[in-house]
């Protein structure tokens, strides 16, 4: 089996047997892979503390394209993002992002997606505290877009009609904004003008605080995004980290 070296992000890590760990890796060149790190749960393991969730670095893998489980020979840590652990909002958002990569990314390698996730983890670790909530929303919407499920906001998603100014319907199942006529016909979430502009701003990738933004707005936007992901990407699998981030159970304010 050839030993390959690739930039990688640890998306998930858990104990397997008394002595080993299994890591789920986003790799730059080989897509998302599972790998066993033999002996990683031993006290004096050569892996040391390198196998931390959300760490970025270089994975050395004994790689077989057809294998379900690869063998991790070593992981050189470049960045462990300790700042993510000092704020549950940052940590929850980073976990939700990792979960999307783990559950929803295509099996074939996707360089842009890999680089995007790495950049988002850096950003979530360093963004000023007051912007964590908007950075998380913008980052997760960008991830949805990168996975090919961008919501349609330029015209009515059902019939392509032009949209009025101001309040607009947003249909999760249809995947975007609705014109006035479709809004009347469908049961749908109505976004008032400021919420619509906030969503457009988030979809444009900005984590600037929209005008009049409060924790209540943040909660409503988290709910909308979570429903959208569940409907279009989750394929019926529960997304636990997404649910954790959505409910913001750690404080209810951010």
């Amino acid at each position: 089996m050839p030993l390959v070296t690739t930039p990688a992000i640890i998306l998930h890590a858990f104990k397997y047997s008394d002595t080993s760990k299994i890591v789920r890796l986003a790799t730059r060149e080989y897509g998302v892979q599972s790998a066993i790190a033999k002996g990683a749960s031993r006290p004096k393991s050569r892996f040391g503390a390198s196998l931390q969730v959300l760490s970025q670095g270089t994975a050395h893998l004994y790689f077989r394209p057809t294998a379900e489980l690869q063998t991790l020979s070593a992981f050189d840590v470049a960045e462990q993002h300790p700042a993510l652990a000092h704020d549950l909002g940052r940590y929850a958002a980073a976990s939700a992002l990792a979960e999307l990569m783990l559950r929803c990314a295509p099996s074939e390698p996707h360089l842009a997606l890999f680089d995007f996730v790495g950049a988002q983890l850096d950003h979530l670790a360093t963004v000023p505290p007051q912007r964590v909530a908007t950075a998380a929303l913008a980052g997760l919407w960008a991830m949805v877009t990168a996975l090919g499920f961008a919501p349609t906001v330029s015209a009515c998603v059902r019939d392509g009609r032009a949209l009025d100014e101001g309040a607009v319907g947003f249909s999760v199942p249809d995947g975007g904004f609705l014109c006035a006529r479709c809004t009347r016909e469908r049961t749908t979430t109505v976004l008032e003008g400021p919420d619509r502009r906030a969503l457009e701003q988030l979809l444009a990738g900005s984590d600037e605080l929209p005008a009049g933004w409060t924790s209540r707005h943040a909660a409503a936007h988290r709910r909308l995004l979570a429903r959208f992901i569940e409907h279009h990407l989750a394929e019926g699998h529960p997304l636990k980290a997404l649910a954790f981030w959505e409910t913001a159970a750690w404080n209810g304010t951010s």
Binding site: F14, G48, A49, V53, A85, H86, S95, K240
Partner: protein, 198 residues
């Protein structure tokens, strides 16, 4: 299935025991006198019937409260918070700690669906809020990202109660898991604990 297969299958479910070892252990047991087998069976049964989590700290014990909580010579004003009951044994090995404990039962892990509400954080808050007997809470969760984020959360919960909250100075070199650290490392980490800022 035969009795031999039954025992081997049960043993093989234990951590670190493969099929081969399980079979070897089963044949070893077969050669033991019947009284030894009965003692083993009774000891294992007692784990299920006599041992329960201490209602104060969450440690596994035959008695409630556990021996540590009931020990009047220990300092009940100093509470060391750990992820698992097995971490208590690691800290006791250091021989340096004279306070009491609080077992959370794990760490925050969004990907596994484990949030703060799944941990024994409310009982900790109640202990601290109850009459102000607790002077200091030492957070000795693992030095992993999950252990850190759990410590961050617990500190936030305890902050309104005005208790001193410190973090054990356990470096990542040991692998982050408390249970793997030797007694000297833990003694040093406890001595070098730092008060957690907001």
């Amino acid at each position: 299935m035969s009795a031999i297969d039954d025992v081997a299958a049960e043993l093989a479910r234990l951590p670190g025991i493969g099929k081969k070892t399980a079979t070897r252990l089963t044949y070893f047991l077969l050669k033991q006198p019947r009284s030894a087998l009965e003692r083993l069976a009774e000891a294992i049964t007692a784990l299920g019937t006599r041992v329960a989590a201490c209602s104060v700290c969450g440690n596994w014990s035959d008695a409630d409260p556990c021996g540590i909580c009931a020990d009047a010579r220990r300092d009940a004003g100093l509470v060391c918070v750990v992820e698992e009951a097995s971490d208590i044994a690691a800290i006791e090995r250091s021989g340096e700690y004279r306070g009491v404990y609080h077992v959370l039962g794990g760490h925050v892990s969004p990907l596994d669906g484990i949030g703060p509400e799944d941990l024994r954080i409310d009982p900790l808050r109640a202990r601290v809020a109850n009459g102000g007997a607790v002077r200091e809470v030492i957070l000795a969760t693992n030095a992993s990202l999950e252990g850190e984020v759990t410590a961050t959360y617990v500190r936030g919960v305890l902050e309104p109660h005005g208790v001193k909250v410190s973090r054990i100075a356990l470096g990542l070199p040991v692998g982050g898991d408390l249970e793997y650290a030797d007694g000297l490392t833990i003694a040093r980490a406890l001595a070098a604990r730092r008060e957690m800022g907001s």
